[in-house]
């Protein structure tokens, strides 16, 4: 019996219970991850992080949440009130919704019902997540626009441009998974990874996904939409109290959601790591949830690690990286994967497959060598004093040039 059939037999009350579990899980995970992030970043900077509220500062995030909720709720006079209120709601709900199709456990018994800890299983589950994520962008855009203020508008535009362009790379990186698993349903994709995780088989896709998921969630080093030094708070500058808390919640649930999706699509979901398959039947199947959360949390650790290590990118570099590197690379990779998949489906001989693969490697090497020699030529030309090969921008002249030319010129003029 497939998971879809299993879940399809759920009575209504069980679905409600599951929805509640997913909701509570997301909120608790957010609180814990805020705490965990601050502790970890603290340790990375050789300080302890929050350690005063509760044991090890565990309820710091909760205390902050309560504080936020009790703060004065300000709606600026220039704001478009309806949209201003709507935006955080859109942001918060969409990120919870994407969790609906994530399989958290395998087959388990819940209140006497055989089911799986997954709210729903639709045949186009991953597409649904991508769709929901794009709706979530509206929250950001509308928040920036409705604030009636400059910085939020700029921050909102930046965020949405960023999220949209990285969503393309993200979507493209998932295509290889669809091709290999032959399905868009999350539970089927997990089942298809029983022998090899796609993180290994489709490593380039995995790498592209991990990069784009950081861009997608507006996190460091891609957090230029919330660059405190440049744009104040970005799109949520004008927000306060509970509405701000909703954005904050949305950001962290989003991180958990993209990590969960990465786990599901590339790390075998709730399945145990290779060699530990016997643990999957422990606790009546509930033990698989532990594997799932371990994987999700390790992704979260990567998020924190990136934040603790890398400086923020410049906006144009960031967009260039998205459009000129990630997207073309993933398109090429899809072509390669599709060809290989087709060859194996048509039972092509090994020789053909190897020939194809090696020719791809050869082409990549040739292109790489071409690039390098072009770069060298350019560098040589610059060293020779030929700046025609340099890109032409309106740049101020170097101090050296100014002093040698303008000064002598002026002195000469005055004497005449």
């Amino acid at each position: 019996m497939t998971t879809a059939q299993l879940i399809g037999a759920d009575p209504g009350w069980l679905i409600a219970v599951k929805a509640l579990i997913v909701f509570v899980l997301c909120v608790v995970l957010t609180l814990m991850s805020v705490w965990g992030e601050r502790r970890l970043v603290g340790r990375m900077q050789q300080r302890p992080g929050p350690n005063r509220v509760g044991p090890f500062g565990l309820i710091q995030a909760l205390a902050d949440g309560v504080k936020l909720a009790l703060k004065e709720d300000i709606i600026p006079t220039a704001a478009d009130k309806i949209v201003f209120v709507l935006a955080p709601i859109i942001s918060a709900t969409t990120c919870f919704m994407s969790f609906a199709v994530i399989p958290i456990t395998g087959e388990v018994t819940m209140f006497g019902h055989k089911t799986a800890m997954q709210l729903t299983d639709i045949p186009v589950g991953v597409l649904y997540i991508l769709a929901i994520a794009s709706v979530g962008v509206y929250g950001i855009v509308l928040a920036g626009w409705s604030s009636g203020s400059t910085y939020p508008l700029l921050g909102g535009l930046r965020s949405s441009a960023q999220v949209i362009s990285y969503e393309i790379a993200m979507g493209l990186s998932l295509v290889a998974v669809f091709i290999y698993s032959g399905s868009m349903s999350t539970s089927d994709i997990v089942a298809a990874q029983s022998s090899w995780w796609y993180a290994v088989v489709l490593f380039p896709s995995f790498a592209i996904y991990v990069i784009s998921m950081v861009g997608e969630t507006n996190r460091a080093p891609f957090d230029l939409a919330e660059a405190e030094g440049e744009l104040v708070g970005g799109f949520h500058t004008e927000y306060s109290s509970l509405k701000f808390a909703l954005f904050f919640l949305a950001e962290y649930v989003n991180i958990i959601a993209v990590s969960a999706l990465a786990t599901t699509l590339f790390l075998g979901g709730y399945k145990a790591p290779p060699g530990l398959g016997f643990t999957e039947s422990w606790l009546g199947g509930w033990f698989t949830a532990i594997w799932f959360f371990l994987k999700v949390l390790s992704f979260f650790f990567v998020f924190v690690w990136l934040r603790g290590t890398l400086p923020r990118l410049r906006y144009d570099q960031f967009m260039q990286f998205g459009w000129k590197v990630l997207i073309p690379v993933s398109i090429l990779w899809i072509l390669v994967v599709a060809t290989l998949r087709l060859l194996s489906l048509q039972n092509a001989s090994k020789a053909v497959v190897i020939a194809f693969a090696s020719s791809i490697v050869f082409i990549i090497m040739a292109v790489n060598i071409g690039f390098e020699s072009a770069n060298k030529k350019k560098a040589q030309a610059v060293a020779d004093g030929d700046n025609k090969s340099l890109p032409k921008f309106a740049v101020p002249s170097l101090p050296m040039e100014v002093s040698t030319i303008n000064v002598s010129q002026k002195v000469g003029d005055n004497r005449e």
């Binding site: 970890l40 603290g42 340790r43 990375m44 900077q45 050789q46 300080r47 302890p48 690690w305 603790g308 290590t309 890398l310 020779d384 004093g385 030929d386 700046n387 002249s397 170097l398 050296m400 040039e401 040698t404 030319i405 303008n406 010129q409």
Partner: protein, 203 residues
Amino acid sequence: MSENLEPLKPKDLGINDVEFYEVEQTPAVGFLGSMKGFWVTFSTIFKKPLTVEYPEVKAPTEERFHGRHQLNRHPDGLEKCIGCELCAWACPADAIYVEGETNTEENRMSPGERYGKVYQINYLRCVFCGLCIEACPTRALTMTNEYELADDARAKLIFEKQDLLAPLRQGMLMPPHPMYPDMTDTNYYNGDVKQAHPSQEGK
């Protein structure tokens, strides 16, 4: 004209002919080299934090840390401040207010002619530069290492004379009281007065 303003090329400027020394530069780092930073942050997780659990543990300050001010006393308890206002004049932040008053035989606060009747330091303005200490001709004003000067009201951060005065030590008497018998203010400054004389008491 406009041609002349065109930036010259490095070779026209002749900077390539200038003698130069080769400076060792950090070589371009490859992919693995740029990943080094990740190891730095990761390994730091397991290091002991450098911070101090502040309210519970208080790390000692440097010896000459500029903290709260103190108005010192002579060994017999008379105040050193003579109300000259030099500290107030030296203060770049205008944080000190002094009013001097003449000493009388009935009401002697310091040796010599004058004493500081009103002495206020506004810690909302003070920048702890220490210029007042340098200005003080009698070493009446010095700084302590005390740094916990936060409070919940602005008025509480204007310290009065009684907040700044040094406590009475062994052998000191609370002024007002007469000067040490047969001693002038010069003797006081020369350190001839070691402690209060019994005759200074009970006046």
